[in-house]
């Protein structure tokens, strides 16, 4: 379809050679010229004022000493790369970065695998089961994060949570009063389950939309050619799902790498900082610790990491305007 779009458009553009009708064309194309900018206007304005400008300021702040005192006095104190030195020479920063990276990779991989599995499953389910599954997924997705973190704290509660009560009932008496938040790994696992559980519905619906967007005739043709389940998936579904899968991977990386609310709400990065991730570090340094310069440096480093990781994909998206999504 993409190629059709392209030829249709290039056929419509006026040829550069001078022709009698050229004046009228030129005038029309002047208003055509302004149209895209007028339509982009509101979005550009809001994004420039409330995303880009603050982001540029964060960059500046990362080269300043900005604690509560400086903030109140409105004092500007440049310190060059001190904040970055401060952050990068702190061994904790590297531990936290590695932890965040592992956390992100595990979460993105599990979210996408489960999401794709459910999307394929939905396709094969009978109508009413599919609706039941979809409603359940929507309920999980729609419940606000502040509420779901509370639910998970409740289910994993040391004394009265359903998990420990069930384990004790099943005869594992050692889980009486067992704390799931006593180590960093176990805390991050609980947080990971929470995030994946809420992220899967969006991925599943997106991929499912891609799957049902594939014309049925293609499957019939594949079936006639003797393709069974797996090879039909490879040959027919995969091409339509692949771009969506790349897009959802990209979005999941962004979302999971920056996940703050859940990590913070569950244990504030504890026990003993063992479940602290980069966004939590940023919060601890900044809003909690009032070292806004250091916090800004962490933010800039995070953005650098994200851009570095996603650069190839972003370039692909920008370079080839004909990509479907």
């Amino acid at each position: 379809m993409t190629s059709t779009v392209d030829t249709a458009r290039s056929a419509g553009t006026p040829p550069p050679a001078a022709r009698p009708g050229v004046r009228r064309r030129a005038r029309r194309s002047l208003s055509d010229l302004a149209t895209p900018y007028l339509m982009l206007g509101p979005a550009v304005l809001v994004m420039l004022a409330l995303l880009c400008w603050p982001a540029v300021q964060v960059l500046f702040i990362s080269f300043r000493k900005l604690d509560l005192g400086e903030l109140v006095r409105g004092e500007v104190k440049w310190v060059g790369f001190d904040n970055y030195k401060n952050v990068l020479t702190d061994p904790d920063f590297w531990v936290i970065s590695l932890r965040t990276a592992v956390f992100t990779v595990v979460l993105v991989a599990s979210t996408l695998l489960i999401g794709l599995g459910i999307a394929v499953l939905m396709r094969h389910l009978a109508g009413w089961v599919r609706v039941v599954l979809q409603v359940c997924l929507v309920l999980a997705w729609a419940t606000p994060i502040v509420a779901t973190t509370t639910i998970f704290q409740w289910m994993f509660d040391q004394n009265y949570g359903i998990l420990n009560k069930t384990l004790v009932k099943l005869g594992f008496d050692s889980y009486q009063g067992y704390s799931w938040f006593s180590t960093g790994t176990s805390t991050l696992t609980v947080i990971g389950i929470l995030i994946v559980w809420q992220a899967v519905p969006f991925i599943a619906f997106t991929l499912y939309a891609g799957l049902i967007g594939t014309p049925k005739d293609l499957y019939e043709a594949a079936a006639i050619d003797g393709a069974n389940g797996w090879s039909a998936f490879r040959a027919v579904s995969w091409p339509s799902v692949r771009p969506l899968l790349m897009l959802t991977t990209f979005l999941s990386v962004l979302w999971d790498f920056r996940a703050f609310t859940q990590v913070w709400a569950i244990r504030q990065g504890g026990p003993d900082g063992k479940s602290t991730t980069l966004p939590v570090l940023l919060y601890l340094k900044g809003i909690a610790g009032s070292h806004f310069g250091v916090s800004a440096a962490v933010a800039v480093l995070m953005l650098v990491i994200l851009v570095a990781v996603t650069w190839r994909y972003v370039r692909l998206l920008v370079r080839s305007p004909e990509t479907e999504l």
Partner: protein, 277 residues
Amino acid sequence: MLRKSRAQRVVLTVFGLLVAAVFVFPVYWMFTTALKTPAQILSPDYDLIPLSATLKNFTNAITKPDFGTFLTNSLVVTLGAVACALLAGMLAAVPLARLRFRGRKGFILLVLVAQMAPLEALFVPMYLIMRDADLLNSLLGLGLVYVAFTLPFTVWTLRGFVKGIPVELEEAGMVDGCGRWGVFRRITFPLLGPGLVATSVFSFITAWNEFLYALVFMREKDKQTLPVWLSSFKTAFGTDWGGIMAASVIYAIPALIFFLLVQRKLVSGATAGAVKG
């Protein structure tokens, strides 16, 4: 669609229902906990199905002072932000998907990178901007912040949906004499339905959930939103799980209603067969 044996269908159905149960369980557990008395919650046993229920947790939560104000504030900010993000996003998505112009790639790059900014980091500059614009303690200010947070995703996703609409349909509309606006109103906009639903769901969730900015920007009590209200439960009641769960249910209900309203559109591939007759 593909022919399956009876056994296969039974296995699929059971598996599908199992997955559904796993996903819905935490939400279900929130609802049932909210109906329990403190004694039931503290006992080592639990009922998966609440046999005796109390509504006391709910009446306690709703009769907390200012509940109505919090709810109204949240609804106004969220719905306002959703509407503005959709409008601005749609306006931007159409030329991005359909027209060629100078600065197009630059704008796409802007959108993609803007999506990566850690929002907790923008806090201080954002605070200063809002203070200078006299928009602290204002629902309008908070709403604008949420529009900014959701716009990159909205623009990007809607652009994809516009691209998904076959150009042939729009061209046919032009041939039939609809004009640019007519084509948009009669062809592009209706086919954009699923895209609008998908993005509105995203911005609704973002705005309805947001806690940090709401907490710090809205210092006056009559301007605060529901996430702040919910967090006030945690400190006030400690581990009153029934009370917190009831408050969570109340907080979740508007989001659940919104999602269930748009749910059918959410998964429909409206353009799938639009070209083929």
